[in-house]
Subunit: 137 residues, 2 copies
DNA sequence: TCTTGACCCCGTAGTTGCTACAGGCTCCAT
DNA sequence: ATGGAGCCTGTAGCAACTACGGGGTCAAGA
């Protein structure tokens, strides 16, 4: 299949596919006489693996390691579990951080009663460093 | 105060302070005879505003607007509220997205029982596109 | 007085993961 | 033969910094 078909088959966009090839994540495919890239089922599977991993938030380097394991089925899969677990922890940390952030934002937004910027509680809250250090009694 | 002191006073790092100046977020300070930047209380307050806003996840452009309002107390603060509310919605959307992601990751991580990569459920799950399309009965 | 080390200056390039050109080729249908 | 869709390459842009190289300045200690 040509690059456009592969893009449609996987949901990746064409520029992204070429990008993955450039950084060595997706192997260089054969070329047609007209120098068009020609992909097979293995490429499609690999790209699906990559896209799915990206959707789960794995970095390119993590995906590189995961693909490497996938290419060497005789290795120990502890590394895969370590990567996934570590990533899960990061996601959980990010959720916790965003939740705190949401609460603080909620407090700020709730304060605005309209009127002039000079009296705006939103702007005041942002200027007031104390607010982000726990003194919101 | 010199740039290093300002950095310590605000928690921003020196390169970041120069960056904010370069993009016009922080006004150019006076210079000493030796061409060192010399900051006053107004700079410190503005930088605290910026850092606090960044910690809350506002983009540079949003902060530019918020600072602009802060510089013009006679304007209507509806814009500040609009920015903050919009941002809050984005944070909530991000939390929801990450939560879904965490659940899917949790399912994947829980599957690994050690052993060879060839049998690894983590790698399998990433390769299996069906998993991310709702078929996790 | 000299030197050492901490601090400051500037400009540019690197980071992550793409995305968007510009300028040109190929292929297929009409 | 012509038009448009699709492909090619290489490079530049995005956000928000961060890091680096190569240099100037300043205060304290030997």
């Amino acid at each position: 299949m040509k690059i456009g078909e592969l893009a449609r088959a996987t949901g990746a966009n064409i520029e992204t596919i070429r990008y993955y090839e450039r950084i060595g994540l997706l192997p260089e495919p054969d070329r047609t006489a007209a120098n068009y890239r020609s992909y097979g089922a293995a490429h499609r599977a690999r790209l699906i693996f990559i896209r799915h991993s990206r959707e789960l938030g794995f970095t390119i380097e993590e995906i590189r390691s995961l693909l490497d394991l996938s290419d060497h089925p005789e290795r120990d899969c502890a590394e895969a579990d370590r990567i996934a677990t570590g990533h899960l922890e990061q996601v959980e940390a990010k959720i916790a951080q965003l939740t705190t952030l949401r609460d603080e934002l909620g407090r700020i937004v709730g304060r605005c009663r309209g009127g002039l910027a000079g009296d705006c509680r939103v702007i005041e809250a942002l200027a007031d460093h104390a607010l982000c250090e726990g003194s919101h009694a």
